[in-house]
């Protein structure tokens, strides 16, 4: 197996840091531990929660969340190579604490370049070699290597198919959410007033975000949002979610997305899609509150 990745461009380093920061926030709200599984492929990296082991999205309890994220490694990294052990084993899954990786990436601002590889140092580690700029023009640059212990997840334990992109084939209606800043602020204010939020979308691209408590009812009306109707059954679709889960989701997005899409599938869960330039796709699922 061969794995190596390098980041030279400052913008790419920043973007990778934003991605890891997002993963860290997403994992910290998971119901299991705070670990994450990274699946390395020849052209991509997928980040999933260990408990997300099925594509069926069977939620036993209300208020559960799950995510799946894929980044285009060839676009994000300045250099990326991954070759599996064999044709059958063309990818590898490693379990890591994203907090540790984030800590390394945020260590100092003067990063000149970053090299990632897997190494066997007493235990299997994700080895990050960082070259820092010298303090002055004349002084030499320093290199520090950080080794983060990881666990290789064998393919017998979790099947490869368990990490496939969640499918949206049963989507009835997809609507683009309003801008992240507006959404963030609004959800935070609503969280201070109540526990549950209702999201309603119509075929005409109208979106309503509403909370209703004994004391107050607040409804925000967004019009003319891009919408795609896949099933022409109902005029409008609505879902009831925990505001705290919605707030956790919005606040974990540390990247600058091009769009956030809300997919109405059935009334069991809300399926959000965060897309950035086609090189990052994040699926975030929140199980809905049934009356």
């Amino acid at each position: 197996m061969k794995f190596g990745a390098k980041l030279i461009n400052t913008e790419n380093i920043e973007q990778f840091t934003e991605i890891v920061s997002t993963v860290n926030k997403l994992c910290s709200k998971g119901s299991g531990g705070k670990t994450c599984i990274i699946k390395l492929n020849h052209d991509s990296m997928c980040f999933v929660l260990p408990e997300f082991a099925s594509n069926h999205m069977l939620f036993y309890n209300s208020g559960q969340v799950s995510f799946w994220m894929r980044i285009d490694a060839l676009l994000l990294f300045d250099f990326y190579i991954f070759e599996g052990k064999s044709i059958e084993k063309s990818s590898v899954m490693i379990e890591i604490l994203p907090e540790n990786l984030l800590h390394v990436l945020k260590s100092t601002p003067n990063v000149k370049n970053l090299k990632l590889k897997l190494a066997n140092k007493q235990t299997v580690c994700l080895s990050i070699e960082i070259e820092y700029c010298g303090i002055s023009l004349k002084s030499k640059s320093r290199t520090i290597t950080h080794d983060i212990p990881v666990k290789i997840i064998s393919s017998s334990f979790l099947a490869m198919k368990d990490f496939q992109e969640p499918n949206l084939k049963d989507t009835a209606l997809s609507i683009q959410m309003p801008g992240l800043k507006t959404l963030k602020h609004m959800i935070e204010r609503m969280k201070a007033m109540g526990d549950h939020i209702t999201i309603e979308a119509t075929k005409n691209g109208d979106l309503t975000i509403r909370i209703q408590t004994e004391c107050v009812s607040v409804s925000s009306y967004f019009k003319n949002l891009p919408v795609q109707v896949k099933k022409n059954e109902l005029c409008s679709y609505s879902m009831r979610l925990s505001i705290r889960r919605m707030n956790d989701f919005i606040n974990s997005i540390q990247v600058k997305p091009d769009k956030i899409i809300c997919n109405f599938i059935n009334n069991k869960y809300a399926h959000f899609l965060v897309i950035q330039n086609g090189n990052l796709v994040l699926h975030y699922l929140i199980s809905s509150i049934l009356d």
Binding site: P178, K181, T182, H185, M186, R189, M190, A192, M193, E214, C215, V216, S217, V218, S219, S220, Y221, F222, K223
Partner: protein
């Protein structure tokens, strides 16, 4: 200018209270400055809106939004008073947040009458948010008997001066002593902490003092928490008038500038001296 909230002069007809504000932030900041308790009495008077907050019948904070701060204001009765959850009102007013460089959020307030909610319509960049806040019967508020004829001492001080003085107060003790001395011509703020006593003297001749009208020397002690309740108002104010009656009742009036309208708003706090056996 937001044009979606169309001004129709007869739109306000069916409401007991109907008001329009081009910038919701004005009401937001004034309401926040008296939000030391969750509920408040919201009164619509001929002269404007009055938001009164009271704690344990011992202190009151009142924010007054005069009609000339509104683009439109109409109230059908002399005085319409309701009790609402002020914290919720404030969250609603801030639903869009403050995105810099953008057109301010427009606000419309509608109240149909007894049994109806207080309705707020906020608009920002084409997005409309409708808030309906439950109303309750207004509690009667304490009359502080703040008789303007009985004011013994009145000091007008620049806000930065009072801010600085209050920041020096030792909070280990919950009492602050205010001395206004005619002989020594100063305003003294004192706190008596575990380590020692702190005295901050502001002479009448100080640049911070705009007017020092002292009829008799007074020494009064007040709860620090009462002053703390007024900190938000102090921070957004330019000037403060401290008025004390012969029975030691303190009336603080903050002058809050509203630069975008080149107008002023007032926030007042009232509280009684602490009865302490020395």
């Amino acid at each position: 200018m937001n044009t979606t909230l169309i001004t129709r002069s007869n739109e306000g007809e069916k409401y007991l209270l109907y008001a329009k504000l081009d910038n919701a932030k004005i009401l937001y900041n004034l309401a926040k400055s008296v939000n030391f308790k969750e509920h408040a009495v919201f009164c619509a008077l001929d002269s404007g809106l009055k938001i009164s907050c009271e704690d344990a019948k011992s202190t009151q904070g009142i924010a007054f939004v005069h009609t000339d701060l509104f683009q439109e204001y109409s109230v059908k009765e002399d005085c319409v008073c309701i009790k609402i959850n002020l914290s919720v009102l404030i969250e609603c007013l801030n639903i869009f947040g403050s995105i810099v460089n953008s057109i301010p959020t427009a606000l419309k307030i509608c109240y149909e009458g007894y049994g109806h909610p207080l309705s707020l319509l906020l608009e920002d960049n084409g997005i409309i948010t409708e808030c309906n806040i439950k109303t309750m019967e207004a509690d009667s508020l304490v009359n502080f008997e703040f008789d303007f004829d009985r004011i013994i001492n009145k000091i007008i001080i620049k806000s930065e001066g009072l801010k600085e003085a209050l920041s020096e107060i030792d909070v280990s003790n919950d009492i602050i002593e205010i001395v206004i001395s005619i002989e020594k011509q100063f305003l003294r703020l004192s706190s008596f902490g575990l380590i020692g006593d702190t005295h901050i003297d502001i002479p009448a001749s100080s640049d911070y003092i705009e007017s020092f009208d002292c009829k008799k020397t007074q020494v009064n002690r007040y709860k620090v928490s009462f002053f703390r309740n007024s900190l938000k108002a102090l921070v957004s104010s330019s000037k403060v008038a401290l008025r004390i009656t012969d029975s030691g009742v303190m009336g603080i009036q903050f002058l809050i500038p509203i630069p975008e309208l080149s107008k002023m708003a007032f926030v007042e706090f009232y509280f009684c001296p602490d009865e302490e056996i020395e």
